[in-house]
């Protein structure tokens, strides 16, 4: 499948030469999260840096693993999440996407 740039290079320029610019538009996808206590916090705070499939694609994980992931987001990635919200988010993930352990 030819890229847009390979196709564009055949076009004659008029005025400004645009054929050297290669662009795409990224689509958004709709992510459905399970209803549960803390869902609103998750939707707002976990969506700042990445889409929410990062949550939904995981296999069921133990509570300790979800806690470690949330901690990593805050301590390593610098997510702007305070301690209280971190607790809410971790509890939501453990309850809705956890193994129950």
């Amino acid at each position: 499948m030819a890229s847009a740039l390979d196709n564009a290079q055949g076009q004659s320029g008029s005025g400004q030469d645009k054929s050297s610019v290669h662009s795409i538009t990224l689509p958004a996808t709709e992510v459905t999260l399970k209803p549960g206590l803390g869902l609103d916090k998750v939707r707002t705070l976990c969506n700042i840096c990445h889409s929410l499939e990062y949550i939904t694609m995981q296999p069921a994980l133990p509570g300790a693993t979800w806690s470690a992931e949330v901690n990593k987001m805050i301590k390593v990635m610098g997510a702007p999440i305070n301690e209280e919200d971190a607790k809410v988010i971790t509890e939501y993930l453990s309850a809705e996407y956890g193994t129950g352990k």
């Binding site: 890229s3 847009a4 290669h22 990224l26 958004a28 996808t29 709709e30």
Partner: protein
């Protein structure tokens, strides 16, 4: 540092940063911007065919297994994996420059024209595989990109040798590492930028390329337009996309994505007991030997007393493939398969085996490859906390009717 020449409009920023309150329902997203999603979780992203969606921001797309029937993976089906959300979506080739500098005699600003005319052109077929390919099969499960087996592909790359570029810049005595940065940038300043490094001796390996073509066409935007690093035989974490800066360093590289992320246990199996922590680690590096049965698929029905060709692929960490053995009786008896066209030590090779099942029933097919260094595949899965380097002997169960 992002290239100021990337056209990144406010709408692009909002779409990729996702900092739009309440953008959670279909009605709020302009129709033309919604990826086509069908029930099998397939999406069609720009310049790509229908692929398995892992994440949209940043994009991570997996290749459906049927494409691995081809010796060469089509460009529009090659997997996509970005780490940080601000991925390049518009590049002006007239303005783009690859900057080479640091602990060097000269600083270079290389244009695409320069790349295509000033250096020896090299073409090489090499497997590209994500470090976490097959992570979804780990038991106990590991958090991360939950790939099945589709985060890999076999592509013919065209570009120039990194070695030639570094020779022109002139590496000064005392160089230790070389770092590679791309046009992608983090969503927040606190998120580590995706910068990788290689020890300088490795960086001078004649087989490492700066590629500007994949299968004879310009790189797709999602696969690293306009140029990317190719480190054949090593996992794709090093194959930095949308290259913008190459920096020779006189001190060891301390960046997050090499010092903290992408580490494996420092032992021959790169593994620990399930659930255990890693005592001593090293950066992930060379791929291990893998093979797959592509046909028949899991659960397929096969006619008794009729020859059927079992088919698949095999590859290693740059040592070619010596042989591929197949078993149709869950590993009791192993037979040699016929190997296909050899495109070199970094490419994968196709294998076939003609099977005539006589008795009806359920059969477990297995395949096991060995590379030219004698490295093969384990029968038991190997575990590590990051879910890297899975290379177990693969099984497919079929029904003979």
């Amino acid at each position: 540092m992002g290239d100021p020449k990337i056209k990144f409009t406010r709408r692009d920023f909002l779409m990729t940063a996702g900092i739009v309150a309440g953008m959670t329902t279909l009605g709020e997203i302009p129709g033309e911007l919604l990826a086509a999603v069908d029930r099998k979780n397939l999406v069609r992203f720009p310049e790509k065919t229908d692929m398995i969606l892992l994440t949209s921001r940043p994009p991570q797309l997996e290749t459906p297994m049927q494409y691995f029937r081809e010796l060469i993976t089509p460009n529009d089906a090659l997997f996509v994996r970005w780490h940080i959300s601000q991925v390049p979506i518009s590049v002006d080739l007239k303005e783009w420059r690859l900057k080479v500098g640091g602990h060097t005699d000269k600083e270079l600003l290389i244009s695409m024209d320069d790349l295509k005319t000033k250096y020896e052109k090299v073409t090489m077929t090499a497997v590209i595989q994500c470090s976490g390919n097959s992570r979804s099969y780990f038991e106990p499960p590991v958090a991360g990109g939950e790939w099945q087996n589709g985060a890999m592909g076999n592509v013919t790359w065209t570009g120039v040798r990194l070695k030639d570029i570094l020779a022109e810049a002139g590496i000064k005595a005392g160089a230790v590492d070389v770092s590679f940065n791309g046009l992608d940038t983090p969503p927040l300043p606190s998120v580590p930028d995706l910068v990788k490094s290689l020890p300088v001796d490795k960086a001078l390996d004649a087989d490492i390329l700066i590629a500007y073509e994949m299968n004879g066409q310009s790189l797709l935007m999602l696969n690293g337009f306009p140029a990317r690093l190719i480190v054949p035989g090593w996992f794709a974490t090093y194959w930095v996309k949308a290259l913008s800066d190459i920096t020779v360093l006189s001190e060891p590289f301390e960046g997050f994505w090499v010092k903290t992320a992408y580490r494996i246990p420092d032992n021959p199996c790169a593994c620990v007991a399930p659930g255990e922590k890693v005592e001593k680690s090293i950066p992930i590096n060379r791929m291990n030997t893998r093979s797959f049965i592509i046909d028949p698929e899991e659960g397929a029905s096969i006619k008794a007393n009729k020859s059927v060709d079992l088919k698949g692929i095999a590859f290693s960490g740059g040592y070619g493939i010596r042989d591929v053995l197949v078993s149709v009786d869950n590993g009791k008896i192993w037979s040699e398969t016929k190997l296909g066209k050899n495109l070199g030590k970094y490419s994968w090779i196709q294998w076939t085996y003609s099977w005539l099942p006589k008795k009806k029933g359920k059969y477990t097919l297995m395949v096991r490859a060995t590379d030219n260094n004698g490295e093969s595949q384990p029968f038991e899965p190997r575990w590590n906390p990051a879910g890297y380097m899975r290379n177990i002997v693969e099984k497919v169960t079929v029904n003979v009717l």
